[in-house]
């Protein structure tokens, strides 16, 4: 039964990926990509990666999809001219050959994976008790591989700086994106009032249980960012001007706390990002609490895009 479900899921995903690749209209392709991202969350559930399923649904399908749909609708006027640039048959045949070669090589690698599979689960389990957290993925993210997570939080910030630096001079420090207007009595404005209270509770809950069960700050922050995006699309809130010091401080507060705790580990535990005995869990929770609002704001502002309107 479950094999049949998995087989159908794999076929459906391949069909949707084909649609995303082959649809004539970019907008239709982006919509197909969202459906495909949502189905991928089911793949993650089948692969027993519930934490990954949550992030795939929130960021992979949700935020990326919303961003691509918005871009596709804005770029619609250019589509007809660009379609004429479609490469000829020889290029497409060569591309198909390259793609088939890549797929064949990867498939051969999948079928040749070693058995029994190498795993770090035992090492993680042996050392997880020292961190005090129950969710092994949170343990890996914030204790064993905390440096990766710190750099990731900074990469997210760099992406935002990259997006901001695309602002035209007159709009530097201004408000991002266009001012959205929606029918104040329409269904979008209605949902933008009803859903955020629920979404905020869900986002904070997913963050809160992340220490012991699937969930965590990235998943929670994505959901909070999505709720803000919804209210912004309905014209209920506007993005803050990016020259605001409060906004800029909120963006860097999380990474700064992370770096400060990491640096404190140099003298209290002998290494950068090491936690002293017995204090691991409170320190991990402090980092998570500090990162959540910064990450949510950073993701929301990345989605809002480069500043386009002067701060006035």
């Amino acid at each position: 039964m479950i094999e049949a479900f998995n087989g159908a899921l794999a076929l459906l995903i391949l069909a949707l990926a084909l649609w995303t690749v082959a649809a004539r209209d970019s907008f239709a392709a982006a919509v197909g990509f969202v459906a495909y991202g949502m189905l991928l969350t089911l793949v993650w559930v089948q692969l027993q990666g519930l934490d990954v399923a949550l992030i795939e649904g929130a960021i992979g399908g949700g935020l990326t999809g919303a961003m691509l749909i918005a871009a596709a609708s804005r770029l619609r006027p250019t589509q007809a001219a660009l379609r004429a640039e479609r490469p000829g048959l020889p290029t497409r045949l060569a591309a198909a050959l390259v793609a088939a070669g890549v797929t064949a090589a990867l498939a051969a690698a999948v079928l040749a994976l070693p058995d029994p599979a190498p795993t770090l689960a035992r090492e993680t389990a042996d050392n997880l008790a020292a961190t005090g957290v129950g969710n092994p993925i949170t343990g890996v993210l914030l204790a064993f591989r905390a440096l990766d997570t710190l750099l990731e939080a900074i990469v997210v910030l760099f992406a935002l700086i990259g997006v901001w630096s695309l602002a035209p001079d007159r709009a530097w420090g201004g408000r991002p994106g266009r001012l959205e207007r929606a029918d104040p009595d329409g269904i979008l404005a209605f949902l933008a009032r009803v859903l955020p209270p629920i979404g905020i509770v869900v986002g904070v809950y997913i963050f809160w249980i992340g220490a012991d069960l699937p969930g965590g700050k990235f998943q929670g922050a994505s959901i909070l960012a999505a709720m803000w995006l919804l209210a912004r699309m309905a014209g209920l809130v506007d993005a803050p001007p990016l020259s605001s010091s409060a906004v800029r401080f909120a963006l860097i507060a999380g990474p700064l706390v992370f770096i400060a705790i990491g640096a404190a580990g140099v003298w209290s535990a002998g290494a950068f990002l090491a936690y002293p005995d017995g204090l691991a869990k409170p320190l991990i929770k402090t980092i998570e609490w500090a990162l959540l609002p910064s990450l949510a704001l950073t993701l929301a502002l990345i989605l809002a895009g480069a500043p386009e309107r002067p701060a006035r």
Binding site: S26, V43, L75, A95, V110, A125, V140, L141, I302
Partner: protein, 114 residues
């Protein structure tokens, strides 16, 4: 248990192939970004399948690659967001969105980047 890993591993290999094809063939940058995401998803699912094969001690997968996947998905989102922002800026400046060396219509004047 590893049936699902093999099935979705092969599915991921096909996704990467589809994405590579679209990345080469589509002239529109937005479609290239979409294709890039399909390649990325394929790589992530393949990695997830390998993580699932490492299941032990009652956990459904090896937690180390699963944690790296979370990092990877967030970074992939950031890369896509930067690409989309570059594309929208190109469109605002030139009224076109092409990566061809000879764009369909040249802007008549430098639109004042700096």
């Amino acid at each position: 248990m590893s049936d699902a890993a093999t099935l979705f591993g092969l599915c991921a290999a096909a996704l990467v192939g589809l994405g590579v094809y679209a990345l080469i063939v589509h002239p529109q940058p937005l479609r290239k970004i979409l294709a890039f995401n399909v390649v990325g998803n394929g790589v992530f699912v393949l990695f997830g399948a390998v993580a699932h094969r490492g299941a032990a001690l009652g956990w459904g997968g090896d937690p180390v690659p699963q944690a790296l996947l979370i990092t990877g998905l967030v970074v992939a989102f950031c890369a896509s967001a930067l690409a989309v922002a570059l594309l929208l800026r190109l469109f605002d400046e030139t009224g076109s969105a092409t990566v061809a060396s000879d764009p369909p219509e040249e802007p008549d004047a430098d639109a004042g980047t700096g």
